[in-house]
């Protein structure tokens, strides 16, 4: 387990050495900033509800772009062989890369703190839902990172990894909006699967253990999938 730290450090710095970090962060800020502030003054309410409402969809595009290179690039270049012939376990590798992605997503969220700060000057902002929303955003980022990591471990092509990751994340985000088409008996179950459904609860300021458990279990399933995919290649 002690090898998690060097792997995390290496992966995290790798984001900022290549242009990918700056591109992804810029796009993320542009998209969230634009959609939030174009409608903000129409509502005339000092809250971040619109920002958080859009976050699952934005993240389901952005996070797979962050995670797509984690395994796919190593498999493609062949450095994967170097990594695995060093004294590390699969668990070290998966956890190190996962943590790097989660911390990167958290870093990406930091500049958006400018939104609540701006809003608090304009009106009476309730900080409770904001704190809850950011907690939820990191949890959501973790769940999507795990899915993206799993997608990346399946292929040596980063574009395929991105598309698979995005499709799963997007599906989880939208599933509770498509319940209309589905049989009654499955409703409760499918609603529980929806990432947006749980994130909405959290971003309202209601931190329920069920929602937290959901994000943790999605992360676990993603990481376990990646672990199995690596084991399979061995």
């Amino acid at each position: 387990m002690r090898q998690v730290t060097p792997i995390f450090k290496k992966e995290f710095t790798a984001y900022f050495v290549s242009p990918i970090a700056y591109i992804v962060i810029s796009i993320f800020l542009l998209v969230t900033g634009w959609f939030f502030f174009t409608t903000f003054f129409l509502y005339n309410q000092a809250n971040l509800r619109n920002f958080f409402a859009l976050l699952p969809i934005t993240l389901s595009f952005v996070v797979p772009a962050v995670t797509m290179r984690l395994f796919a690039e190593e498999l493609n270049v062949g450095s994967y062989e170097i990594l695995l012939t060093m004294p590390v376990t699969f668990l070290d590798v998966v956890l190190g890369k996962f943590l790097a992605a989660v911390v990167f997503v958290a870093t990406m969220l930091i500049p958006t703190l400018a939104y609540p700060i701006t809003v608090s000057f304009l009106g009476q902002l309730d900080w409770g839902p904001v704190v809850a929303g950011y907690t939820g955003a990191v949890l959501l980022g973790a769940a999507f990172s795990a899915i993206g990591l799993f997608a990346s471990s399946l292929t040596r092509n980063q574009i395929i990894a991105f598309i698979i990751g995005m499709a799963i994340c997007f599906g989880l985000t939208l599933i509770d909006k498509m319940l209309f088409f589905l049989p009654q008996s499955l409703l409760g179950f499918l609603e529980y699967l929806g990432a947006d459904f749980h994130f909405e609860n959290v971003s309202k300021g209601v931190i329920d253990s069920r929602d937290i458990l959901y994000f943790l279990s999605v992360s676990f399933v993603g990481l376990y999938g990646a672990y199995l995919a690596l084991l399979e290649k061995n």
Binding site: R2, T5, A14, S18, I82, T85, P87
Partner: protein, 315 residues
Amino acid sequence: MIHVEGLTKYYHDLCAVDHIDFDIQKGEILGLLGPNGAGKTTTLRMLTGFLRPTSGSIHVKDYTIDEHPLEIKKLLGYLPESAPLYHEMLVYDYLSYVADIRELDRDEKLSRIRYLANLCGLNEVMHQPIGELSKGYKQRVGLAHAMMSDPEILVMDEPTSGLDPNQIVEIREIIKEIGKEKTIILSTHILSEAEATCDRLAIINQGKIVADGKTQTLKQSAGGASLIRISLQNADLESVKKELQVIDGVTDIVPARREHGEDDNILHVTLTCQSSVDVRGDIYRKIKETDWILLELHQETKTLEHIFRELTREN
């Protein structure tokens, strides 16, 4: 030190390595020799724990690869073929990352990196991205990577592939230098390299070991026959055959190809002789009795190349 028994690897239906057995003693330099696709890389990858064998066992010291992969990886340093590395990392950052994973502490890490940079000649490129280095430098970074933890066993897959002749000599020097105290396994398809660096050779063909022995022993066993090439003027093949065939020890005479643009009346022949008797004197005396002019007489013992070709030729 290393004991391999019945090692087998299938890629789906394709058998890459087929029941290989070998032992490596401490301090030995073993060369795995074989044509492309013989199973060298697969064997090394199983040894380093990167691939899991389909069947068979690998013991390193008291550890087995199934039960103690981490302990074995700690003992091993591995230089993969064509040293695939992280292109965007700086050489120093990369080596420091490897040192962290190998759990070197701070002071030890710095002195070790400095030592390896000197040994592998990396001082000038320490702060360049690995992707911008030439092939030779990448290989050296790979070598430094492999030796970071001062491992007891070094596994190298084609360590000199893609290097220029000067670099090849340098890397060989380094290998020999390290080989004085470490156990080394390297794979190669370059015979002169195997001959120059290895104590022992194992020739692999189609996933099987077809010869295994000390480099010297292998070369001698190849003996059995030696080749003599002679060039004559004013001679014709028929009479040469007639005259020289009678010499004791000469088993076969075949004409060799004339060099391009050479005079028509020069004849090259190759004589196959038993290596136990030296027939050169007899040949000279025979030729002296005739009016042929002897231009060249040259003996070559069958080298590793012949054994290699015989053992690995496609049927």
